[in-house]
Symmetry: C2
Subunit: 495 residues, 2 copies
């Protein structure tokens, strides 16, 4: 049976989304009966005149949602009645924890939620700072750049330039200079409980390059690689995957982090996750889920891509160790100095199984020939001489005070708006309840307060929940209070 | 007709090369008659169970060689008898010019040429320096690293760190910081006669990244992009193209540079060329050929990728201006500081038509988010304050003296070995006549002299001419004389 009466319209945009939507409706209406065998992806693609990838993507999304079932070596079928969801899966959000250092939030208002449909273009989270300079910048993604230890860095650059042999200024090992690889291995073993030898560390320009390189690796290993990603997650990472020809599949996040059971129903070859501090919801992946995620990777021989983006900053207790330490054969740990020092340095790293590390080095050898050597040696000196740790400790105190100020002000002035996530990182996620996210963002901007909405972080939901993602790293406490007062003015008063 | 009786063996390696070789033999033997219509690429690919790209590549190679003819909108046919070459095209080399500052070379010996068949793996020209340190390093690709102005660079880093506003340490514009883009535009207008505005300049990590990014752009624009490259040329660039999924087509080089008539017979969408100083033969693209190459690009709406790798160094007169200045709508100029300062800085640039520049910036936004900001600002200061020009002028005098020493010693001690190319750059190409390249390279290494053979620079020739590519940038004159004396010892004496 290939006559599914499906209608796709190229002008309406993303074909896989349309196809998934048509199939979903046909299954719900009963037009496609439970147990019905669907055409092979190749056949349906030919019938519809689309690429096979479109059909694979649509099937995978519906398998993940429970509308379809697929078994190894068998065809894809419509799921049995009990398994089919009655309506599209609603965006899942973790419950509201009691914010640290702040009173419990009020109950959520029951007014109708404003429409929050997605616009066609999305902001780029990796470049949240446009050229304009707002009076109060509460957008996430960048640490306090004014606190960067400039004199120290300049002194270390001078010393490195004095000490380096001339040959060290030649073409570097694309995988990184040995001093930095060894320094990062030691640091990540100590601070993140990673299982890392220097040979497993590959220096990168940042997490984005790591994702691009791993996407390229997955495309070499699989004809049509399927990559799962937390939903919501960083829109910059969605863009990097899409540019590499991979449309990510969204997996919900709840109060324990990624829903691994949901992941188990997909055909994903890899999962991109933020276990230390989920972006943007701020949840920490629970011990039970960590075990389940590792079991998934071992069973499927899949790859876990662990984005450890702000793991240096946990305020209520020590951060949990990285996933890579639990399963070094199946996890690639990605990190950078973008949150700990400054994004402008463009230095990051991967800790990977030996054969993946070799492929990442080879990727750099044919894409950019590696990172600048002076900055690599300077960071190696920062690490080995303790200046990096000292800077992180200082900033942890600063950011904790700023987070406490922000959470306190929000709880006082917007008591109806739940704040999500643990006391960590450089941002909080604020639920806007029934308000229009766009209206709040643009009214705040008019008052000189730059904030970012949550919408662009959602991958699959048709009507994502209105929210703000507030970055507190760059404003001192007093200015945070002023900014929240302005923000409260643009949110309609509650009774 | 699809029954061509072709036999391909996946274990024997590159399928397109095998297919081209089978077709060539069938045409020469008369089994495939002149005028015979070949199957469509899609049909033959299906029959042989290979991807269409394999067939397209094989056809294109044979069209370039004159065995097949194809006209727009028509099928591909076996060429008429007069057009079919009697034997595979021999590697073409430019005639031997009289080397500057040295006596005319002796006549070439007539002994049988040693076999110089290609090994299965190739050295990586972008990383010519292994970890071992030879006594005399005459390998090409790296400037004199000991001459890098370290104190100046360290001072500028300190000043830049003092002066930069904090926000400048955030995520940069992936296309480069404005100060460097403007500085490079002014420099390239002045020194290379480029037609460059700051908005057309995109900062890169080097020429390799430029080629990788343009390969990605060509893959978006064409289903099966065809890229022509000079043969011989840099093996590192072959590798970058192959990693991006593009098998380059070789076009011969003669004493006027790239053979544009040959290029005209290909279906190339882009040509990667080194007009200022062909690598490795050292030829300068003649004015007539420049005009023909630009005409080709305009007629086909094709892209010329101009690798301006060592254009700063011309010793007998001013360097000719870049091609980009002649046809800014069809040329992307790529350059870097790898030869002028040091490769370890990983800074390069593209000057491109507006829409290509936008795509290159977008490429960086989804692959690595741009280059480190401190090094960009430091290089901008080097340029605007004249330190860069001063360093290049100093190095030009140094390198000229070293080249004269090398050419003089070679002419005295290996008078039978012709030296090719103009007085420019950081290397010379030495024809080894009938000697075995491998034997010379390994015997020299045993005496502590590291040299590179020419074999890896050939793309298409089955039996490339034995040669040495000698880099003279890193040895002072006295040591060059010692190295050439040792080299002469390993070359059998001539009578």
């Amino acid at each position: 049976m290939t006559d599914l009466l499906l209608v796709l319209d190229r002008r309406r945009g993303h074909l896989a989304t349309q196809l998934a939507s048509e199939l979903r409706a046909a299954i719900r209406s009963g037009r496609l009966a439970p147990g019905l065998r669907l055409p092979a992806t190749r056949t349906l693609a030919r019938d519809l005149g689309v690429s096979r990838g479109v059909v694979v993507e649509a099937y995978d999304q519906l398998i993940a949602e429970g509308f379809l079932v697929a078994r190894q070596g068998d065809c894809t079928r419509v799921a049995s009645p009990g398994a089919v969801p009655a309506s599209p899966p609603a965006p899942v959000l973790p419950p509201v924890p009691v914010p640290q250092s702040a009173p419990a939030p009020h109950s959520r208002p029951t007014l109708q939620r404003a429409s929050n449909a997605r616009p066609s273009t999305r902001p780029d989270l990796f470049r949240p700072y446009g050229r304009e300079v707002p009076r109060y910048d509460l957008r996430p993604g960048t640490p306090d750049l004014a606190a960067f230890p400039r004199q120290r860095w300049a002194s270390l650059v001078r010393r490195v330039l004095n000490d380096l042999p001339a040959d060290a200024l030649g073409y570097p090992d694309p995988a990184g200079v040995p001093a930095l690889r060894a320094g990062l291995a030691a640091y990540l073993r100590r601070v993140r409980a990673a299982q890392a030898e220097a040979t497993q560390v590959v220096v990168l320009s940042g997490v984005a390059q790591g994702i691009a390189a791993l996407a390229s690796l997955l495309r070499r290993r699989h004809e049509l690689p399927v990559v799962a990603i937390e939903d919501p997650s960083s829109p910059g990472e969605h863009q990097v995957l899409r540019a590499a020809g991979i449309e990510p599949i969204g997996v919900p996040v709840d109060d324990e982090g990624l829903d691994v059971e949901y992941l188990n129903r997909t055909r994903a070859h890899a999962a991109l996750v933020t276990p230390a501090h989920q972006y943007p919801t701020g949840v920490v992946l629970s011990p039970r889920r960590r075990a389940a995620l590792v079991a998934w990777a071992r069973e499927r021989d899949a790859l876990i891509i662990e984005d450890d983006y702000d793991a240096e900053f946990r305020y209520d207790r020590e951060p949990v160790g990285c996933l890579q330490g639990l399963a070094p054969d199946h996890v690639v740990l990605l990190g950078s100095v973008s949150k700990s020092l400054a994004p402008g340095f463009r230095i990051g790293w991967a800790v990977a199984p030996a054969e993946v590390a070799a492929e990442l080095g080879a990727y750099r050898a044919v894409s950019d020939l590696g990172s600048p050597v002076l900055e690599q040696h300077t960071l190696a000196a920062m690490l080995s001489e303790g200046y990096f740790d000292r800077h992180v400790r200082t900033m942890r105190r600063t950011y904790r005070a700023r987070r406490d100020a922000l959470v306190g002000e929000l709880t006082t002035r917007l008591p109806w708006a739940p704040i999500r996530g643990v006391s960590a990182g450089l941002h909080v996620y604020v639920d806007l309840a029934d308000l229009s996210e766009d209206a709040v963002v643009s009214a705040a901007r008019e008052r000189g307060v730059a904030v970012e909405g949550g919408r662009s972080t959602w991958l699959a939901a048709d009507n994502p929940p209105p929210a703000l993602i507030l970055g507190y790293a760059r404003l001192p406490e007093r200015r945070i209070a002023e900014a929240v007062a302005l923000l409260a003015e643009v949110c309609p008063p509650r009774t």
